[in-house]
């Protein structure tokens, strides 16, 4: 038999839909999170002692009925999910056996009409002072958190784009400069500046497009490894990276104009010179 000490908020995630234990003669059942199950080397059918107090006082016995994978929560991915679930009456009994406290910290309510949620929440708050009620669709800190993280990642992407844009420009200038004499020869045999600029722009767009496509393929190929690493690191089923069509389109939309701009500048550095000077005359 193991002795486990838990804080009561963890127990209050007890599910109330399953009802109480099937028979008073049997020990009440508990479901254990996979993380807790593995860390404590528990086994299904094993009996454990649960207590609200750190000293293990006033403990109650439970039988481990099974293991569950906690719903991945991006707000809690860095925290160990050491949790277990018991029937609500058993959780209340456990709370009553310890120091006095509030046995239930949350009640989920399903309304007949979801559109009434805001009105219902304000009605509950007015009728029950001390109780906080809010609609599940109301904006909360989670939305704000991920909006901020998205803004942070975008800022990093912009800086990376600026750096790579400068490098791309340097490379394009060098590549076009290398073909200075060829460009001059083409001008001498009659090709217009506009045609040469178009050719350079097409080349730049092709290079940028191919680079962006390679980047997307590389990101998609690296996605499973990246996810597996972080899922292992944080012991969670959460998906950290997902290359979606929207992200792919966004990266192409950034990369191709940068490539075109670099090509245009590089082309201009060559074509602005006099043709005869470029062939050494």
């Amino acid at each position: 038999m193991r002795r486990l000490s838990f804080v009561i908020p963890a127990l209050v995630t007890a599910w109330s839909t399953l009802g109480s234990s099937s028979s008073p003669a049997l020990l009440p059942d508990a479901l254990v999170s996979r993380q807790l199950f593995e860390r404590e080397h528990l086994s299904v059918g094993e009996t454990v002692e649960l207590s609200r107090s750190a000293s293990g006082g006033a403990a109650k016995h439970f039988r481990i009925a099974g293991v569950y994978e906690p719903t991945p929560d991006p707000m809690r991915f860095a925290q160990e999910r050491l949790e277990l679930r018991v029937h609500l009456p058993d959780a209340e009994g456990l709370a009553a056996s310890g120091p006095p406290g509030v046995p239930v910290t949350g009640i989920n309510v399903q309304l007949r009409d979801a559109a009434d949620a805001a009105g219902f929440a304000s009605d509950v708050e007015r009728r029950l002072p001390g109780v906080t009620a809010r609609s599940t669709s109301a904006s909360d800190d989670r939305v704000a958190t991920f909006t901020v993280l998205d803004r942070f990642h975008l800022a990093i992407a912009i800086v990376t784009l600026l750096g790579s844009g400068a490098f791309l420009l340097a490379l394009m200038v060098m590549l076009v400069d290398e073909r200075r004499e060829t460009v001059a020869t083409l001008r001498l045999i009659g090709l217009t500046r506009a045609r040469l600029v178009t050719q350079i722009l097409i080349e730049g767009a092709l290079i940028a497009g191919a680079g962006a496509a390679f980047g997307i393929v590389f990101a998609a190929a690296a996605e499973p490894a990246f996810n597996r690493f972080f899922q292992w690191r944080y012991d969670t089923a959460l998906v950290f990276v997902r290359v979606t069509p929207a992200i792919a389109i966004r990266s192409v939309a950034f990369a191709v104009p940068v490539g075109l701009a670099a090509s245009a500048v590089a082309g201009w550095t060559v074509l602005r010179r006099r043709t005869l000077l470029q062939v050494g005359r």
Binding site: V7, P9, S53, S55, P100, P129, T160, A170
Partner: protein
């Protein structure tokens, strides 16, 4: 030889001003990002440690393993506080009871968090205006943060009524209070509404005047009697049922769990940025060397040793990365202010927390990575120069 190699590299770099400026600009941008990721790696922890130390307490006692207050309260806290105060390694003990409340007649976005403490012990906040009297009301004396002052239009001397939203009682009696001071509270989020009053007042606010419990005990150690470790050991011996954490242990736990996302992100982005920068500099140098193979062969034919020409390429790489990497430090510093501003808008982040903190260690790692980057980026172009067939290259140059 090194001076000559540097001089040769400098001449080559100066001759191609345009591409040098572009290359340096690219390295500056990538280097600034690299520098920021190094600042981010430890920034939150350094900032967190500073804030913990500033509070004046170096040991915390709570009833659960969690480093944040999420567990059951500490029962019979008066007796426990008295036991701790007798330990020679402990200079001061403060009990903290947390409750929440609304201000009567005013709708606010959040509830007010109210901390109850012993007014005659060391308090975990800094007074900005007014005082926190050791003898309480009625009305109960409370100190409030600037947000409360602004949102509820309160100042020192203002009266208010708090309606408790804590404890087991459904309808605790409203608490008559008077603002005695405005304070800066540790760990206050930018939009937090925080107040503090006496322990008894907060117990009454939650409808539990007869209870003897607290959410946390704060301990200031006696430096002359062994410091935080000795105080923590004394607290563990006296209260074996509770969990005792020094500031050092809290920082260590947060670095391992709560703050690990930013550390991982910083490590991944550092590696990616470094690889990216390395690749780009190597490509830039390789293209540059390929364009100047004829000149290299001519220099070799004139008598310059292979080592000197190779050293010239290495110095060119070092110059590009050195100039760009140095410029990256002030640019990175400015960029970190912007990135810090973005991240500090995360909900619940303490107003004085910083994600990017300059440390000598970060600067040293930045320099070491750039030096390693300069060497690695130059390896392939140096090899091109080393195996250059002089006669064949010169002939090809003349024929073309």
């Amino acid at each position: 030889m090194i001076r000559r190699a540097i001089a040769l590299a400098w001449l080559r770099v100066r001759r191609e001003k345009g591409r040098t400026i572009l290359g340096v600009a690219g390295i500056t941008a990538i280097g600034a990002l690299l520098f920021d990721m190094l600042l981010l790696g430890n920034g939150l922890l350094v900032s967190f440690r500073e804030r913990l130390d500033r509070s004046g307490f170096d040991v915390r006692v709570i009833a659960s393993e969690s480093a944040v207050i999420a567990g059951p309260p500490i029962e019979r806290v008066t007796a426990k506080t008295a036991i701790l105060r007798r330990a020679p390694s402990i200079a001061a003990v403060q009990r903290v009871r947390l409750g929440s409340a609304d201000v009567e007649g005013v709708q606010a976005a959040h509830h007010v968090t109210v901390a109850g403490v012993d007014p005659d012990a060391l308090v975990p906040w800094s007074m900005i205006d007014g005082t926190f009297p050791s003898v309480g009301g009625p009305p109960a004396a409370i100190v409030i943060n600037r947000n409360m002052s602004r949102v509820f239009h309160l100042m020192v001397g203002s009266r208010l009524v708090l309606e408790g939203r804590c404890g087991a009682a459904l309808h605790p009696l409203p608490l008559q209070a008077q603002v005695s001071g405005i304070a800066a509270f540790q760990n206050d989020a930018t939009d937090a509404l925080t107040a503090a009053s006496s322990y008894a007042a907060v117990a009454a606010l939650c409808g539990e005047s007869d209870s003897d419990r607290a959410d946390m005990l704060l301990i200031r150690s006696n430096a002359a009697a062994g410091g935080a470790d000795a105080a923590a050991a004394a607290a563990r011996a006296a209260l074996p049922d509770l969990h005792v954490l020094t500031n050092e242990q809290i920082v260590e736990r947060f670095s391992r769990i709560e703050f690990s996302y930013f550390r991982q992100l910083s490590s991944v982005l550092t590696a990616v940025t470094l690889f990216f920068g390395l690749l780009l500099v190597a490509v830039l140098l390789t293209v540059s060397v390929n364009q100047q193979l004829g000149e290299m062969a001519a220099l070799r034919a004139l008598g310059l040793s292979r080592g000197r020409v190779m050293a010239g390429v290495l110095c060119e790489s070092a110059l590009l990365i050195g100039i760009g990497g140095t410029a990256a430090i002030p640019i990175g510093g400015m960029l970190s202010i912007w990135l810090d501003h973005i991240l500090r808008s995360l909900p619940g982040i303490p107003a004085d927390a910083r994600f990017f903190v300059f440390t000598a260690r970060a600067l040293a790692i930045h320099a070491a990575l750039l030096v390693a980057g300069a060497v690695l980026a130059a390896l392939y172009p140096m090899r091109l120069v080393a195996v250059l067939p002089i006669a064949e290259t010169l002939r090809r140059e003349v024929v073309s």
